[in-house]
Every structure is written in structure tokens, then in C-alpha cells.
């Protein structure tokens, strides 16, 4: 039971981050349920049919999903805003349809026999991804991503190859979703295409949005809360989905920018101040817009 919690919470944290990484460059992705499916099935085939150990299988599955993300993303990133979102919805829907039609992986019946996820796998993944994103937030790359997210035209005029940056983010996000999907599948033992539908993609985006997307801590917190809420309201029996929906609406109403929308002016100023300690000048207090 405890293992279930650790695996599901951890997987959902990483999934929320996978959306966050893509959103860093300004694209909202509903494709991550599809990437997760690619990860689950690709790693499952490798471990069950070819006897590969879980971790390399998960990494290869991640690379496959990343490659799919980049291949599909290259034409898709020419579209913007709502069109790009629809393309990502299309990715999730097509991945599910393709898997359902492949008898080799059980088609609509699902694919079984995957075992081996230990809680420490998931914990290690969360720590690794967290460290990576933390380093990112301190690096100049974060500023480049912020610039692309805020104003692509302006970013391009500064010499930033915006398509490349967005593509890399999409690839990394797909990789993370697929690795999380691999661990998820190898915990559940048996998965069906239904478990990776568009609803899952929407939920992953909700984790990130509810938690807050303007800093790296919001999405995983959203993932934790969204995973645990259904358990907390277990006593409500058939009213559970309703209560879940109401809680989401209330959260969005009281914290429209997400639960952890704290990366405001002062933290930004402080961050720069830390990097600029070498300079003698004292930082003026940040003034809000």
C-alpha cells in the first residue's frame, strides 16, 4: 500500500514536471499521456519480450518517446497557441489508437507481465529531475527559456533559435513522461491503452497548472495533491469524482496562478543579487509593475 503511494505520487510528480519542461518554452502540451504510453509499452516490450533490465529499458523508452516528440514537434511547432495544443491532443489520441491496433502488444486487451519497479527507482527519478531543474533555474538557459516563453519575436531578435529551444524542451518533456510511464507500467504489471487516454494528458496538465507553473516546485506539489485528494475523499464513495472536480475548481478560483505562484519580483531580484555578489553595488528594492 505504502509502495503504491510512493510510486503513484512520484510518477505524477515527474509527469507534472514533464509538462512544466515543455511549458518552460511556452508550449502547452496535452501529448504527455501519449508519451507516457510510448514509455510504458516500449519499456514493457523490452523487459518482457527481450528480457532487458528495467532501468536501461526505461531510458531507451524515454529516448524513443523523445524522438517521437521531436519528429512530430518539428512541424507542429510552426503552429502556435491553440493550434499547437490541438496537435498535442492529436498525438495522445493517435498513440492510443496505434497501440490498440498492434496485436504484438495485446491490442485493446492490454499488455502484461511487467514487474520490477521499486519505490527507490521512482524516488531517485524525482530527485534527479528535481536537481536538473534546480540547476537549470540557476543557469543562463533558464533566462533564455523565459525570454522565449514571454516574447518569441523579441527572443528571436536577440539571436535565440526559438524553434530549436522549443523542440529541445518538447523532447526532454517527452523523455521524462516516458520514463515515468515505464516505471508506472512496471508497477501495475498489466496496462491497457485506455489508461493513457486524453483524460490522463489533461490531468497531467492540471497537476502542473494547479501547482503553479512559474517555478519548478509548483507542478510536483500539484501532482502530489491531485494524487492524494481522491484518497482523502475516499469516504464519499460514488461522490468522489464530484468532490475531486469541485476541489479543482475551488483551487483554481482561489489561486488562479497555481498554489505555489511565489516566484515573484522579490525572488527574482534576490536570485540575481546572489549571482552578482561580486559587484559592490547594493540592489535596490524591486518595485512591482
Amino acid at each position: 500500500m505504502m509502495q503504491d503511494y510512493i510510486v503513484f505520487v512520484g510518477v505524477n510528480m515527474v509527469l507534472a514536471w514533464s509538462v512544466y519542461v515543455i511549458l518552460l518554452a511556452g508550449s502547452l502540451s496535452f501529448a504527455n499521456g501519449g508519451f507516457m504510453a510510448i514509455g510504458a509499452y516500449a519499456s514493457g516490450v523490452l523487459t518482457v519480450k527481450f528480457g532487458m533490465p528495467l532501468i536501461p529499458a526505461a531510458l531507451i523508452a524515454g529516448l524513443i518517446a523523445g524522438a517521437v516528440g521531436v519528429l512530430v514537434g518539428f512541424p507542429a511547432l510552426r503552429t502556435r497557441g491553440i493550434y499547437l495544443m490541438l496537435v498535442t491532443v492529436g498525438i495522445t489520441v493517435s498513440v492510443k489508437a496505434v497501440i490498440e491496433s498492434i496485436d504484438y502488444v495485446g491490442g485493446i486487451q492490454g499488455f502484461g507481465g511487467m514487474v520490477g519497479t521499486r519505490p527507490w527507482h521512482v524516488i531517485a527519478l524525482v530527485i534527479l529531475v528535481g536537481c536538473g531543474l534546480w540547476f537549470l533555474s540557476k543557469s543562463p538557459l533558464q533566462r533564455i527559456l523565459d525570454a522565449v516563453r514571454e516574447d518569441e519575436l523579441s527572443a528571436a531578435s536577440l539571436g535565440i533559435n526559438t524553434v530549436y529551444v522549443k523542440l529541445v524542451c518538447l523532447g526532454v518533456g517527452a523523455f521524462l513522461a516516458a520514463v515515468a510511464g515505464s516505471f508506472y507500467a512496471h508497477h501495475l504489471i498489466h496496462v491497457t491503452p485506455d489508461q493513457f487516454g486524453i483524460v490522463v494528458s489533461v490531468f497531467i496538465v492540471l497537476y502542473a497548472v494547479l501547482g503553479g507553473t512559474n517555478n519548478m516546485w509548483g507542478p510536483p506539489i500539484g501532482g502530489v495533491i491531485m494524487t492524494l485528494i481522491p484518497e482523502v475523499v475516499r469516504g464519499l464513495e460514488s461522490w468522489r469524482p464530484t468532490a475531486f472536480g469541485v476541489i479543482i475548481l475551488v483551487l483554481l478560483l482561489i489561486r488562479p496562478d497555481g498554489l505555489l505562484a511565489f516566484r515573484d519580483v522579490t525572488t527574482r531580484a534576490k536570485k540575481i543579487w546572489v549571482t552578482a555578489k561580486a559587484d559592490e553595488s547594493k540592489p535596490a528594492r524591486a518595485k512591482s509593475a
Binding site: S139, I144, A156, G159, K287
Partner: protein, 255 residues
């Protein structure tokens, strides 16, 4: 010495039309190393289309652009920016939710050229110091930690120019930098631009403020209805009858 070798930018026969309207009609000229070139014209003359075509925002219908002896026609705006062509926008495009210092830091050439490698840059001190030095030149260093969106209009203009220079360009385009400024602010801006001149090989300034264009540029080109109608020293050009006609109407007088 041949002229081409001294030219930073050579534009030949540049044309661009929108739905049959000739916004640019075979415009040719070059930008010499070391000069401030003014480009003026009444509203709708094609100034903004021109800057947007030359900096890669729109593709040209016809014509070639050579920069530093290399054909750069059709390159994307980020490629041109990396080659050293920087620009500002008529309606100031700062990253408003980032601080003043971050706006300059983000343009650091070393990071822009290799975005993924910049993930591994831990020590940003030298870059921060360089950015602060640049902000100092533009009298913005006191406001390093302000959000760019909270700056006053004139400060935002200065920051946009400073940011453009942070990428170490050799050619700087300024798109109507004095738009919406009063006389005193325009005067301050002119001195900012003169100060910027030492950072770059050449500046092209697009503007329709006549007083500014009389004093600031070394050379002036006048566009009207997408065509070049005059080129030469500012005082000579502004005295030409066709320029006066295009600008002020037949009976117009200089203010």
C-alpha cells in the same frame, strides 16, 4: 579602396508587396562602416517594412542583402541577430516580467549562441559584471533589479538599446526610437545613440522626427511610397524640393 569592402550592409533592389501594394519598390543602398545612417519618410513610406525585411521578419519578394560581404538574403531573424545585426522595435519589446539586469543578461552572446551549453554555466559573475557595466553606460544600473515592465518610457527605450548592444552586434537598427517623446527626451535619446555608436560599426536609425534627423545622422535616405527619393547629407536632403513635398505637402514649411 572599393566601396563594397567598406560597406557593412549592401541592399540591392529590395522589393516587398502586401496584396499588390508595393511597400518597398526596388530599394538599394548601403550602410558604410562607422556611420550613423538616417532613414526617414512620411507614414506609410515603407520604413518599418524595410527594417522588418532587412532583419528577417518578413521575406523579401526580390532583391539581395549582403552583410559583411556575405549574402544573407532570406536568413531567419535569429540567424541575422547572431551574425551581428541587432534591432529595437517601434513599440518597445522588452521582457517586461524580467528584471532590467536579466533583460541585458539574456542577450549575452556566449549564451545565445549555445543555449544548451549555457545550462552548464555556473559562474555568471563575469557576465553580470559586463551587463552592469553596460547598464552603467545607459544610466540604468540603479534600476538593475526593477522589473523591465515598471520602467518609464525613456528608460525602457534606453534599456532596449542596451540589450541590443549586449549581443555585441556590429550593425544596430533603431525603429522609430523617438516615437512618443517630447523634445527634451528626444535630445537625451540622441546623446544615448551617439554614445552607443562606439559599440558598433554602424547604426541605422529610422525616424520621422525632422529635428532629430537633421542633427543625428551622418547621412540621410528618404523613402516615399516604398521608393528611395533622396540620399545625401541631412541638410542637403532636407532642402530638396521633392523631400519637402513628400514630407510637408507642396506648401509645407519646416517646423
Amino acid at each position: 579602396m572599393n566601396v563594397v569592402a567598406q560597406s557593412v550592409l549592401v541592399v540591392e533592389g529590395l522589393s516587398k508587396s502586401f496584396r499588390g501594394l508595393n511597400a518597398l519598390d526596388s530599394v538599394s543602398f548601403n550602410v558604410q562602416s562607422g556611420e550613423i545612417l538616417g532613414l526617414m519618410g512620411p507614414n506609410g513610406a515603407g520604413k518599418s517594412v524595410f527594417i522588418n525585411v532587412v532583419t528577417g521578419l518578413y521575406p523579401a519578394d526580390a532583391g539581395t542583402i549582403h552583410y559583411g560581404g556575405r549574402n544573407v538574403t532570406g536568413l531567419a531573424s535569429y540567424e541575422l541577430a547572431r551574425l551581428g545585426i541587432a534591432r529595437t522595435y517601434q513599440n518597445i519589446r522588452l521582457l517586461r516580467r524580467m528584471t532590467v539586469l536579466e533583460n541585458v543578461l539574456v542577450a549575452t552572446k556566449e549564451h545565445i549562441d549555445r543555449p544548451l551549453r549555457s545550462f552548464c554555466v555556473w559562474n555568471q559573475r563575469s557576465f553580470v559584471t559586463a551587463a552592469k557595466r553596460l547598464l552603467e553606460q545607459f544610466h540604468l544600473v540603479d534600476k538593475s533589479d526593477w522589473l523591465a515592465g515598471s520602467l518609464a518610457y525613456g528608460e525602457a527605450r534606453r534599456l532596449e538599446i542596451a540589450r541590443a548592444l549586449a549581443g555585441k552586434p556590429s550593425l544596430l537598427f533603431l525603429d522609430e526610437p523617438a516615437a512618443g517623446m517630447n523634445e527634451r527626451e528626444t535630445e537625451e535619446l540622441s546623446s544615448t545613440i551617439r554614445a552607443s555608436h562606439k559599440f558598433v560599426e554602424a547604426i541605422v536609425i529610422i525616424e520621422h522626427d525632422v529635428a532629430m534627423m537633421r542633427n543625428l545622422p551622418h547621412r540621410l535616405i528618404v523613402l516615399d511610397s516604398g521608393r528611395k527619393i533622396a540620399e545625401g547629407r541631412p541638410n542637403d536632403v532636407l532642402a530638396q524640393s521633392n523631400v519637402i513635398e513628400a514630407y510637408f505637402g507642396t506648401d509645407g514649411t519646416d517646423d
